[in-house]
């Protein structure tokens, strides 16, 4: 047996490795998420009468709606796939720190959503003709996604035990992530069309990420156990 910290990280990375390997072989979620994100961006581009003077105001909102909608597809599968196979119980039978399980699922979700974002951001930049491909987009997307994934991972465990999990997950998650989405949209807008004396949106994102991460990590073990 090894010491607790080493075991924690070994178990965390083992779960991430298992989830990634299963997804790379099954290709159930990644492709759907990416296709969905790109479709939302295209539909929004047609739905709004975008001109040079309003595209900077509308575009970042469309980008984050695409991210959030696509994220729900992946987040819903996080625990549901384990629950459907009964493998969640089998995982819970192992002497695994429940926080390691949360962290693994969170990091796995970040990787899934991150890949979708790597595809969607250049598509967005091309369709909406906005200069969003700068270095600053990386921390904005990372912090915004972290907030969404932190709450989404927790509630995917809550929803996994219910029959209507596909419906329940967005109903639980959307109201809670509003501050993160607002912060991410405003920070993205500031990137393409800077406004003097803009509030520190990145600071707001960091604050909400810390709050969401802390509460989710503490709550997850109680949610996952009987």
């Amino acid at each position: 047996m090894m010491n607790d910290t080493r075991a924690f990280w070994q178990q965390t990375f083992a779960i991430i490795w298992k989830d990634l390997r299963c997804e790379l072989r099954a290709r159930q979620v990644w492709v759907s998420m990416a296709m969905f994100a790109v479709l939302v961006l295209v539909v929004f581009n047609f739905a709004f009468d975008l001109r040079v003077d309003n595209v900077a105001a509308v575009g970042p909102g469309a980008l984050w709606i695409a991210f959030v909608f696509a994220s729900m597809l992946g987040l819903g599968r996080t625990m549901a796939a384990e629950q459907e196979h009964g493998s969640l119980d089998r995982l819970l039978l192992c002497p695994v720190d429940r926080k390691a399980l949360y962290l693994a699922k969170l990091l796995g979700n970040l990787i899934f959503i991150g890949v979708v974002e790597v595809i969607a951001v250049p598509v967005f930049a091309a369709i909406y003709s906005l200069p969003i491909l700068t270095g600053m987009i990386v921390p904005i997307v990372l912090l915004g996604t972290l907030g969404v994934a932190a709450v989404g991972t927790l509630f995917s465990a809550v929803a996994a035990n219910t029959r209507a999990r596909e419906v329940l997950l967005p109903l639980l998650v959307f109201p809670l992530i509003v501050p993160v989405v607002i912060g991410a949209v405003k920070a993205s807008q500031a990137l393409v069309s800077p406004v003097p004396n803009d509030p520190p949106w990145i600071g707001l994102l960091i604050a909400f990420d810390v709050i969401f991460l802390s509460i989710s990590a503490i709550t997850f073990p109680y949610v996952i156990e009987e």
Binding site: K18, R21, C22, H85, R90, C94, E225, E226
Partner: protein, 254 residues
Amino acid sequence: MNAQLVSPLSFETPHTQATPMSVAVTRAGKLYDLRPALRDISLTIPVGARVAMLGPNGAGKTTLLRILATLAKPSTGRVEIEGLDVVTEANDVRRVVGYVGHQPHLYDELTARENLLFFARMYGLRDGAQRAGKLLERVGLRAKANQRVRTLSRGQTQRLALARGILHEPRLLLLDEPDTGLDDDANALLAELIRERADSLTTIFTTHNLERGLALSDTTLVLVGGRVAHMGPARDLTVDAVRAWYTRAGRRAL
């Protein structure tokens, strides 16, 4: 475990008092939505016992197994495994307990070997690869080691689940209808694996196959309506006697 601590309705397996206890259940109950699944159960099981847990559907067999496996918490009473409380020392209990359910609960997209290696990491085993190789050989899946689980037959998957259940060399093995989906050869293998470890391994299993249950066990535990109806040496019990309990329980339920 001190026999005086348990309730007057306590049951002990037919071993001497000096034998160390693997499982001690003291006045344990379990409610699901205010409906009792287990009622005030007290029993002790010594190290090395092979216990067949029998009972009609809804008797509380799976509930008791889930409590012993730390997947459920008793609503009342205390449950200990090797002196460890299943609620407050759950992670320590998990290290000494192995579990094989009637569903394999393996990852379809991983190969047989990858499944074992993953669980070896979950248990923090340093020699996981070596153990996985040996067990794949032992359960007759060496040739299928690099095949994905979804390509294996039901019987092969159940053998793999059995290998996963004993991968970390548990001292208490819980088997919930493990014979479901197993052919005769695999059932013989299961019996062999249990007997090979008879000195150190305590086994508790549920089954609806009464003949097999009585043959494989040295102790029988019959649950009816969430209560212990009988606990004693397997040789003292016949299939007809167990069926009579089932029939009486069925009549009461009507």
